[in-house]
Amino acid sequence: MSTTTMTHDEAHHHEAPKGWRRWLFSTNHKDIGTLYLLFALTMLFLGGASAMLIRLELFQPGIQLLDPDLYNNLVTNHALIMIFGAVMPAAAGLANWMIPMMIGAPDMALPRMNNLSFWVLPAAATMLILSFVVPFFPGGGTQINTGWTLYPPLSVQVGMSMDFLIFAIHLLGISSVLASINIIVTLLNMRAPGMTLLKMPMFCWTWLVTAFLLILVVPVLAGGVTMLLFDRHFGTSFFDAAGGGDPVLFQHLFWFFGHPEVYILLLPSIGVLSHVIPAFSRKPLFGYNSMVGAMLAVATIGMVVWAHHQYTVGMSLGAVTYFMIGTILISIPVGLMIFNFIATMWRGSMTFETPMLFAVGIVLMFTFGGLSGVMLAVVPADMQYHDSMFVVAHFHYVLMPGAVFGLFAGVFYWLPKWTGHMYDEKLGKIFFWINVISFNITFFPQHFLGLAGMPRRIVDYNVMFTEFNVISSVGAMIFGLSHLLFLYIVIKTIRGGKKAESRAWEGAKGLEWELDSPPAFHTWTVAPQIK
């Protein structure tokens, strides 16, 4: 392969291309970051709409709007859209925007692959949406009523919509792995001179660990769903006991991916918090090295405790004991991270702008979600809670504050840098309070529903569960609609507002704040020297 080097002017001093070509052919990390964020926002509303339909159905006992299969299809799609369509692309958007600016690199290491990583996503989303839509057409087969876990034998029996879903998962996986490779190469090879690994901003560290996790676990999911496809169409029996296979094998493969996926969703937000909390506490992050160590410990232990999702499947006592102890051990490094955040705030000169409000909210609510996680990690307790609404409450307390609120904190923190305008602080705070209060109204009662015995993934419920379900549904409607305010704030900030300075926040530290707000199309054409 012959290569020529572009001149300095060609490479760095031209303006942004105009029109659709700018976005379709973009190799610029900021433009691709913007594309990721817009895509994630779109999917957030799609996934949110499906969640609101679910809660509308559960507003009253009995079947109101959705038949049982459609209800479970919505449950499946809600999870997959939110995880693969909203949270992961949003985190990748932040990574694309911020990593090169934070490490003093002009762009990502593999810019064309960066373009490909993004543009696979709309194709994947189309397949995902088709998997939902296909059963409505004549000959479209049955709905995907398996939930996002896609356990066989049910997933082998579902109609052709499952094939669309399997293809969507493959495409989403390809996008994730390519993006992860790019991020790792950028972080390891493109740092500014003098920036050793232990001088790297914490957001970059969290993404380094996240990207490695993605490379290790996403291919396993791809393998699992490929075997599912083979069982469905090519006469194999990987998961069919009658043919010598084992349906539990799929559960192991799925959760080998599924449990680290929690940390994949969580860690980028921990990275955001590691910048937001010091900035608004006006103190350096407490325990940088221990944060890095804790993250590595979380990732390592998180890779080997997957079967705590399968306690009820009938594993040996030795196996469940191992998975229980391993799972509980994770609370030590996670607790260390939370301790470091609190220690950073301790005696800091704190102010509570919107990103900081989200950060404090995360520390409180994510800790609560973690505690209910410890409850679920205990085998005899889990036997009672398994597949109940308690589990739904638990993972929403982990993933909404732990992942989504972290992304909101990041967007509010860096929006002035991206757009060159300060967002409307008053509206930001109103959004925070509506969002957080309605989130708790939605999900807190679900703990009680689960403890009282209400199962999840069932369209109907006993009348004794009505009151808490009504409260939860009302909260969910407010929660869902509150995101329209977020959209309004973002659009308003893009269109104008108070001019943001280079260092938009008084306490903000890092290379990205030395660049203009908004930064030039090409930045760090000359690498900064790190002392």
Partner: protein
């Protein structure tokens, strides 16, 4: 093919090489997710017993 000035040919080679290593790692995890190794263990075990 043009490469941007911020990537010298050496840096680009280094980047591409690392990308291939990581892709290989992903491929290894993909391949080993297929349970052929259970059969391999069985064969190795049977051989060892003989």
């Amino acid at each position: 093919m043009k490469i941007p000035a911020y990537q010298t040919p050496e840096l680009r080679r280094k980047n591409v090489r690392l990308a291939w290593v990581l892709a290989g790692l992903a491929l290894f995890f993909l391949v080993t997710s297929f349970p052929f190794w259970t059969g391999l263990f069985r064969i190795v075990g049977t051989q060892a017993m003989q």
